[in-house]
């Protein structure tokens, strides 16, 4: 499945703004793993996901998907393996294009784009059924521009798009952080459902420790560009927020003094 071997990345190297974002990340995912990733600001959570997606080249290390090193592939080539949902609901969809057009583009992820018509009648029918499962009424607005949708609707659509063509790995980068609590819960529920239904391997970055414990079968804590804690299975099920905070100060030797994380207990 996915394997990260000693992945390193420094932003703005050699300048006063140099930031060592990833300091040797090692991680091996098993088929069907649903990993939640927590850590303070600047711990390297989103950076890890961006490294996998290829937003920029890493400095050293290997990123293997199904045994093949993809670390040197450009972002658009890695897209064939990855479904992605971002923190900002505006990021994952094209606002000036129709809902069905966005879906048609996502349905061709990893496939050659030819001079065939961009969306088939069969697809329209299929998209309609899939949109109906979101229960947001979007199936009746398939020709509406995505820019007219709310943040939660766009995020739900982005999730659906990320799984239209089954990805090897689904990358969720704080995808509920910009939503109000009620919508966030709904989108999380949808994520769980899509991951379970499609038997996806997924990584979810979150600031919310409760969510990190409640979702997935494995939990990773990052600090200063490294993975400092990795639990799965039964041990993970038994975790509590307090135990996590305790674990953090033990392994990092620091107080878990991040307001945002503490607030979202």
């Amino acid at each position: 499945m996915l394997e990260l071997i000693d992945v390193r990345k420094t932003f703005n190297p050699g300048t006063i703004n140099a930031k060592r974002a990833l300091c040797g990340v090692d991680l091996k995912l098993n088929e069907g793993d649903f990993v939640t990733i927590i850590g303070g600001n600047g711990a390297g959570k989103s950076t890890t996901l961006n490294a996998i997606a290829g937003a920029w080249p890493i400095d050293s290390g290997e990123i293997k998907i199904d045994g093949a090193n993809v670390a040197h592939l450009p972002e658009y080539k890695r897209a064939k393996y990855l479904g992605r949902v971002f923190q900002d609901p505006m990021t994952g969809t094209a606002a000036t294009m129709e809902i069905q057009e966005n879906m048609a583009i996502a349905a061709r992820r990893g496939a050659p784009r030819t001079l065939r018509w961009g969306i088939s009648a069969k697809e329209k029918k299929q998209f309609r059924e899939q949109l109906a499962t979101l229960e947001l009424g979007l199936e009746d607005r398939m020709t509406a521009k995505v820019g007219l949708l709310s943040g939660g609707q766009r995020q739900a659509l982005t999730l659906l798009m990320a799984t239209l063509k089954k990805p090897k790995i689904l990358l969720l980068d704080e995808h509920t952080a910009a939503l109000d609590p009620k919508t966030a819960a709904k989108v999380l529920e949808l994520s769980d459902k899509l991951i379970a239904e499609n038997h996806l391997t997924a990584m979810m970055v979150t600031h919310n420790m409760k969510d990190a414990i409640a979702h997935g079968n494995r939990l990773i804590m990052m600090h200063e560009g490294r993975i400092i804690f990795d639990v799965s299975g039964e041990e993970k099920q038994k975790l509590t927020v307090d135990a996590l905070i305790e674990k953090f100060s033990q392994t990092s030797g620091e107080e878990f003094a991040n307001d945002r994380t503490l607030l979202s207990k």
Binding site: T91, R113, R116
Partner: protein, 312 residues
């Protein structure tokens, strides 16, 4: 005098359609790819130069048009390579190509101006009054055929990926679109169309001139903006109608042009007025956002809310 004005109108329509075709090229980069491509000031003249040279050397007009289209595409390719593989900002990349083309166009023509004459050269369109009806008809067919082709292309899988590139670059890459190639493709297509309009313009006005492209981008943008403002509401979300609106924008521009000249305005001032008009219309969406949007309201609320908290 008024008769003179009326008799100038068919010419204004013909010229408007030619610039409308040019504006369709601008629409592809400016509206679809979200790039302001200044290559067009050069590539319109490149199209005219190639066409003029081929016609004066006795080549058939259809071949001259095809050649103009292909060479125009090459100018777009140049800008595309500057912008994507060399990482030069789009506006600067266009300016660089435009400057290169100033020399290249001179070399193509071998002189700074080539005259074309409907009685000597086999022209498709001309501003000679006797042929104006035919000219307008041919240009109309040209514009409609072009719109039909583009409507088809931008509906295809690849055309959709070009549109997505302009709409959301990050999303496009995440969906596996090679956005460098789609950007280059858009620039190539756009400048091919612009050069084609240049080839038509050279025939229409009876000459290709090394300075004829100056400010072309502004006229193209004006046509896009006027078309959108006057006819955009009719087009709704139909892409073909939006392109048609652009052509009508070009026609309106040239009818207004003829009118202000008839009224007696100094023709030297037209470029000044065109640029001011475009600047004004480009400012409208910005002002709308700044002063009338919910974001602005939210910012105000946030500010007062903060003060409230501090007081408490």
């Amino acid at each position: 005098m008024f008769i003179n004005y009326l008799s100038s109108l068919p010419g204004a329509v013909a010229q408007g359609i030619i610039w409308g075709i040019m504006a369709i090229g601008v629409y592809i980069t400016f509206k679809i790819l979200d790039i302001a491509d200044l290559t067009v000031d050069g590539s319109i003249c490149t199209g005219a130069s190639v066409c003029a040279v081929m016609l004066t050397s006795g080549q058939p007009v259809w071949l001259a048009l095809i050649a103009a289209f292909i060479v125009g595409m090459l100018t777009g390719l140049m800008t595309g390579i500057f912008h994507t593989f060399m990482g030069i900002p789009a506006i600067l990349a266009g300016i660089l190509t435009q400057l290169m083309l100033w020399s290249i166009n001179l070399k193509i023509m071998g002189t700074s101006q080539i005259a074309l004459d409907v009685s000597k050269n086999n022209l498709l369109v001309t501003n000679r009054v006797a042929f104006l009806g035919r000219t307008v008809l041919i240009l109309t067919i040209f514009a409609i055929a072009l719109i039909a082709l583009l409507y088809w292309f931008f509906g295809t899988e690849y055309g959709s990926s070009v549109r997505a590139t302009g709409a959301n670059l990050g999303m496009s890459r995440a969906q596996g679109i090679n956005t460098n190639i789609t950007k280059i493709f858009g620039l190539v297509l756009s400048n091919g169309i612009v050069a084609l309009s240049g080839a038509l313009l050279a025939q229409y006005q009876g000459s290709s001139n090394n300075n004829m492209g100056k400010g072309a981008i502004v006229i193209g943008l004006a046509a896009v903006i006027i078309g959108d403002a006057l006819f955009g509401w009719l087009a709704k979300n139909n892409f073909a109608l939006k392109l048609l609106a652009v052509v009508f924008g070009g026609i309106v521009y040239y009818i207004v042009y003829s009118t202000v000249i008839y009224i007696g305005l100094d023709a030297d001032l037209l470029k000044l007025l065109s640029a001011l008009l475009v600047a004004l219309f480009l400012a409208v969406p910005y002002w709308k956002n700044k002063y009338f949007s919910s974001h602005a309201d939210a910012a105000k609320r946030k500010k007062s809310g903060k003060e409230g908290k501090e007081n408490a």
